[in-house]
Symmetry: C2
């Protein structure tokens, strides 16, 4: 039989690492803190990339590729930025046997490189906007690491745009946040809270950071993607200017935005169960696995292959004709989170039907072989909707509202999830809540209705609603 | 007007760098020896990736992603390999503010990482073969660099496979060489010589290296892609073993194969002319540019946009409705190598036609607007065939056969191109030819007819036909 995994109720962290290993998503190597993306794990990323890349191109963005190194002086150009990233940079000091005249870090993010390039190529309002994106890996020298969630190297995309006006930059920032929110909800079936980060939590060098926040099975939050408005801060530091229609030289306004392989961690922790991974159909490497029953009986494998050949042009489908038992195969493909299983045996063939079993709720249906092209898309849609609704319901059930500090602390201690509470805007209160309740501000949600008018911490007048929580 | 570029007859190297800059393929940054792939240059790479990636998947390969770092002890495991790559490795010595306990190089190639992983995951003959590929960037600390041809960081794919038998590994090595040859000839329109490298020129750690060699406009050769058979050398060094059907533990056999952004350099130097880039239709980011003529006249832009909307679902098409003059636009899109230009003005609209102009030979044709969907694919095919034939004819005209050393040296000095000559197989002769004629062995071509029976260098008996040349 397929080896059992630790149950999530027993040990959520162990359950998580069991899945990433046993669903063949990753492997470890002698490169500490980095991970190997195995074919099945990487295929999820390829599906994510394809969907998002199309969306980026539809919204007018172009892909580029910047060097992976950043010379120290270049990294140092924007003060807040270097303070945020230098402490966890990996430094290249030697090329071949010779020491470099200037050390370079492996990019932790590429704002500085894009800024230098924009300063080179932007001259006039006619050159604007530039809407660039890059798919690459970045390096941050983390002390403690966890697969997909926090590793020293990870894969991501980073969009970097430059605009004539502050208004356009803000519009772009929000547009891309919405692209992310839409992707999380539609493709990954993960409901998100959209909002603005507090100053403490914003990106090093940004004027404003927006975020999509997702809630995991264990009630911890995960920052899914961020979109930053830089204003003209980087443009001033790097001298990115343009000659406007009115013949005045002006500084540009910029944004950046990114999502990473962390999203695979979010998929696991939002949808997974004690049988393993549960993959949203849009990004599942295999959407349907065909399992022949009594496959040595005449005609079974032939029929299974016939179905495979019919379906493979419409769906991502595989056939498991190995010598393992059906029971082993069921468990194995449940572990791998394949959304639908198609069983076909001698009796099914006789009655021109097959059995479709959903991964999310194990519901079975008997379907005529002539109706598969219609039934399967409907079932995949239904799986996606159910995953989303289940996650949404769980989040609603784990979202609390607090108006008194004592009760806030009590909830933070005993009830995993989000706490909605008002905040005065002072860093001091944010730090104190971290200290007394071990929660951080996740975001100030867009359109969030106030739940009072006093700061949960200091009791002073407060207009900002904040989602608080423990986070990955 | 669009700025002129240096003519290739005047200064080939300058012509080349003029094109890479003026066709907006790359830009430089403060990261010495590395380059920025600008949107137009990166889009060529994306098209290359899409075609090759489909081909790899069709032939059963899966994509993975390995860490970008290699610890020194891991790099050192295979003796020949480390000797080949350590001298040009970039070394990471610090993470954050702390020195690493073991320095790591940024991958120059990933054999060692794949081997370590294969040693982990391969147990039985049932696990074989593993056919993996990775798209990534690699770093080699070159002293002198040139865009696309030799830079400290470049983009590539590296296939790494592991097999039960020597025979399967050899078959895979040749299969992938043929995939490359096919891609060069059909997609890039570049004829190649397929063959085996001499021991001196083979990959560090390989048993045999095969290559596809292309000839550039200036008569220099460019190694387009290589495919290596490792035998069981790496498997022994890394302990990659499997339990065979006969219950014996055996070492695996391995291959690796790769092509890189060098191919973009090959496209430029094989097809380009004094008006700029000439792109093969299969990888051109824009296959057709629509240039409205007298675009301010009523109906012209409307018609141009109507054509754009009609064609954009079938081809990669753009419309240039900027305020520049048609002459400027023609020159600009010729510089960028767009295979076809579609001109449409008031008179054309009256007669329900347009003008199609080929980039490669500037041939014009008048085509009915109702026949575009048929005429354009035929024209694009014809451009591709012409590019290939012109390159093949040039190569034939630049390929010489020599049987006497003196005449070999004379040809090497005065006639750019390939020299076919027999070789005894001794390293000494290969080194001497480099010294006296400044040529290296490009490959021993598959199925190459002998042109004599004596070594061009030492006069001893010789059975190996070699293509000699100067190379990028």
């Amino acid at each position: 039989m397929v080896e059992q995994i630790t149950s999530m109720e027993e040990d959520f962290a162990k359950w998580y690492t069991d899945i990433v290993k046993k669903a063949d998503l990753i492997d470890y190597s002698s490169v500490k803190g980095c991970m190997i993306y195995r074919p099945y794990g990487y295929a999820i990323w390829e599906n994510i990339q394809r969907i998002l890349d199309n969306k980026f191109k539809e919204t007018g963005h172009q892909n580029v590729y910047m060097p992976m190194f950043i010379p120290e002086t270049l990294l140092n150009k924007e003060k807040d930025h270097v303070e945020g990233f230098a402490p966890e940079a990996a430094w290249v000091t030697h090329g071949g046997s010779e020491p470099l005249t200037e050390k370079m870090c492996v990019r932790p993010t590429s704002e500085t490189l894009f800024c230098e390039h924009y300063a080179n190529i932007v001259r006039s309002y006619r050159d604007l906007p530039k809407l660039y994106n890059q798919w690459c890996s970045v390096v941050r020298w983390e002390k403690t690491t966890r697969p997909f969630l926090r590793s020293r190297e990870f894969l991501w995309q980073e969009g970097h745009t430059v605009h004539a006006t502050a208004k356009e930059a803000e519009e772009e920032t929000i547009r891309m946040l919405n692209v992310y929110a839409d992707f999380f909800e539609k493709a990954l079936c993960i409901p998100v809270v959209k909002g603005k980060k507090t100053d403490k939590e914003k990106f090093a060098g940004a004027k404003a950071t927006y975020t999509v926040e997702a809630l995991m099975h264990d009630g911890k939050a995960l920052q899914g993607g961020t979109s930053h408005n830089f204003g003209d801060g980087f443009a001033e530091a790097f001298g990115i200017q343009y000659l406007d229609r009115d013949n005045q030289i002006k500084h540009c306004h910029q944004t950046s935005w990114g999502v990473s392989t962390r999203m695979i961690g979010a998929i696991i922790m939002c949808h997974g169960d004690n049988n393993g991974l549960v993959l949203p159909p849009a990004v599942a490497p295999t959407q349907i696995v065909i399992v022949p029953i009594q496959q040595h009986k005449e005609g079974v494998l032939e029929k299974a292959n016939e179905l495979y050949n019919k379906l493979k042009n419409i769906f991502r489908v595989e056939i498991d004709d190995t010598d393992n038992t059906p029971g082993w195969k069921f468990a194995q493909h449940e572990m791998r989170g394949v959304p639908l299983r198609l069983e076909i045996g001698p009796k099914d063939i006789e009655s021109n039907q097959c059995v479709l079993v959903r991964r999310d709720n194990r519901e079975k249906s008997f379907v005529s072989l002539d109706e598969l092209e219609v039934t399967i898309p409907a079932l995949l849609d239904s799986v996606a909707t159910s995953l989303y609704n289940a996650a949404l319901e769980r989040r609603e059930n784990m979202t609390y509202t607090e108006t008194e500090l004592e009760s806030f602390i009590e909830t933070a201690k005993n009830k995993p999830g989000y706490i909605k509470a008002m905040w005065c805007g002072e860093l001091e209160c944010e730090l104190k809540l971290k200290e007394v309740a071990d929660v951080s501000s996740r975001c100030m949600p867009f359109g969030g209705e106030p739940v009072g008018d006093k700061c949960i911490c200091c009791g002073k007048e407060a207009h900002k609603l904040v989602y608080w929580g423990k986070a990955y």
